[in-house]
């Protein structure tokens, strides 16, 4: 089904323009009408244009009447804009059916929109890393795209389901718990919990501000890239000490990728952090949610009411039709 997709750049400047073009071509190949924002390829310092330019781009996306507004890429730049976003306009567009989709720095937008309006947005791919694969690796912006030759099947299927209004949930299998570590996720079903979260660094960087939503009995999902486990632990500690984690019904850890352990770690690693966290809270901590800075990922509705069932290593998140 042909849909109208609006591409815009609220965060970092697009350096890999070939990936951008491939992404647009891919969405067109899938049968969609792709509209590219006039400032999508703007550049000011590390940003996709100065603050006014990026704000205007977000508001044009909201005004576009598109079925789905997709960020070109993440990076950094949204947190600075949060006081000046026109939340009512954005919520109105969402209320009319617009799907806002993005990842990474986009967590700032999603979290703030949820805090200010309660409106639902989607954690999912960005254009370049999700649909722009297929070329030579590009390292100018610190990430590599294009190692795969075609976009990931599962991501594209989830994207299509959400775009056509048929996405209903996501299931996955958790990692095995290392011998000796704590496994504290007995079988259970959690009903009507608000799903929220995104990038751990970005989410944590909003704690204590008016853009952090007060969600109790929610299901919080987290992912990150290029953050050492001690930094992941320090951020989880902040959420823990702020009372956020214990207030949730479940914590879903997605993919934490692209970090380097050092000789100084001497056995301290990501499973150490997970085991530590499981000792600190009674809230179940699930692993291996297929979401993060990886090719194979699901789309997740931030702010939606969900059911979560846990049976052994298998987990199923269901939000029904939204």
């Amino acid at each position: 089904m042909k849909k109208h997709i609006y591409i815009y750049s609220p965060s970092g400047a697009v350096r890999d323009k070939a990936a951008f073009k491939r992404g647009v071509a891919r969405l067109e190949l899938l049968g969609h009408e792709v509209e590219v924002d006039e400032a999508a390829l703007s550049s000011f310092q590390r940003f996709a244009g100065d603050d006014e330019t990026r704000l205007a781009a977000i508001h044009r996306a909201a005004d576009s009447g598109a079925d789905l507004a997709l960020i070109s890429r993440g990076g950094y730049g949204l947190t600075r804009l949060l006081p000046d976003l026109r939340y009512k306009k954005i919520a109105k567009a969402i209320d009319k059916g617009m799907l806002f989709v993005g990842i990474s720095d986009f967590t700032a937008f999603q979290t703030a929109v949820l805090a200010k309006t309660g409106a639902i947005t989607w954690a999912g791919p960005a254009l370049c890393e999700g649909f722009g694969v297929g070329g030579e690796p590009d390292t100018l912006d610190g990430h590599t795209h294009g190692e795969a030759q075609v976009p990931d099947d599962i991501m594209e299927a989830c994207f299509d389901e959400v775009l056509s209004g048929q996405g209903e949930g996501a299931g996955w299998r958790q990692h095995r718990v290392p011998a000796g570590d704590t496994m504290d996720s007995p079988n259970r079903v959690i009903h009507n919990a608000v799903l929220w979260g995104g990038n751990l660094t970005v989410l944590t960087s909003m704690l204590g501000t008016p853009y952090f939503p007060e969600i109790k009995n929610g299901v919080l999902f987290l992912e990150d890239v290029a953050e050492h486990p001690y930094r992941i632990e320090r951020m989880l500690t902040q959420l823990l000490h702020a009372g956020i984690l214990a207030r949730q019904k479940a914590i879903l850890l997605g993919q934490f990728t692209d970090y380097k352990l050092t000789p100084h770690d001497r056995g301290f690693k990501l499973p150490s952090v997970i085991n530590w966290l499981r000792h600190k809270i009674k809230t179940p901590v699930l692993t291996n949610l297929p979401y993060g800075h990886v090719a194979t990922k699901v789309l997740l509705p931030v702010g939606a009411s969900t059911d979560l069932s846990i049976e052994g290593r298998d987990a199923l998140l269901v939000w029904g039709h939204l």
Copy 2:
């Protein structure tokens, strides 16, 4: 004057044992009695012993009756311990005259002690990086010590002043403001403002928790190491949006070192961040405070009432005898 100095390790494991020994020898050479905590060289994963070990070390330091308790090094590990610190014991030791001195991860201790008790601690050197210089560079723990052959004069003089109860303040000259950027620190004198702060990453990682002090009309000092300017800006944005920065009488930026700009930055750099911040708040933002992960640094009383005078590029912070 011979003083009793207690060395302990509340954070990361000491890998550079030669620097540790040199530091102890240096303090002894300066005429002091140095007592080394029994767990000062403990190691568990990346930590100086497990949580119980490090907690016990902190409490032994408080019980030691020493004139000054100095951390061996920073690293990571204090935030995990905050709920279990015995704040009354620590405040009592401080009330009896004990000086707690440290840097980096130690900011978590200092900030929490200030929030929970109002007691004054000192931002200053750690044993290894401050007094243990003089050997071959060691990179196992990600930092290099020992490039200089003797400890820094100014740091040692400040340390001696504080130890003998004669430290009264610190003066410095700010960086020139780049042409075209904002200079918003007109001459003024600020009286009776609480001095607080430390490592930006560690301080920010306590926002939203019970360990973050509510200080209005204070003078907030910040430093960091190995954090890219966009990350520094993201943290400052968090403090800004939380209302912390505008509530202060002045922001003192210390030394931000050891980060790498990338081609993607395209002119975005630390002065860009400072200029941006000066446009966001009316609070004066001063630069070049001689404090941070550098050899030449002053000691600063966290929690003390201070006067700050600004005259052109010159700044003077005075706390009198404490």
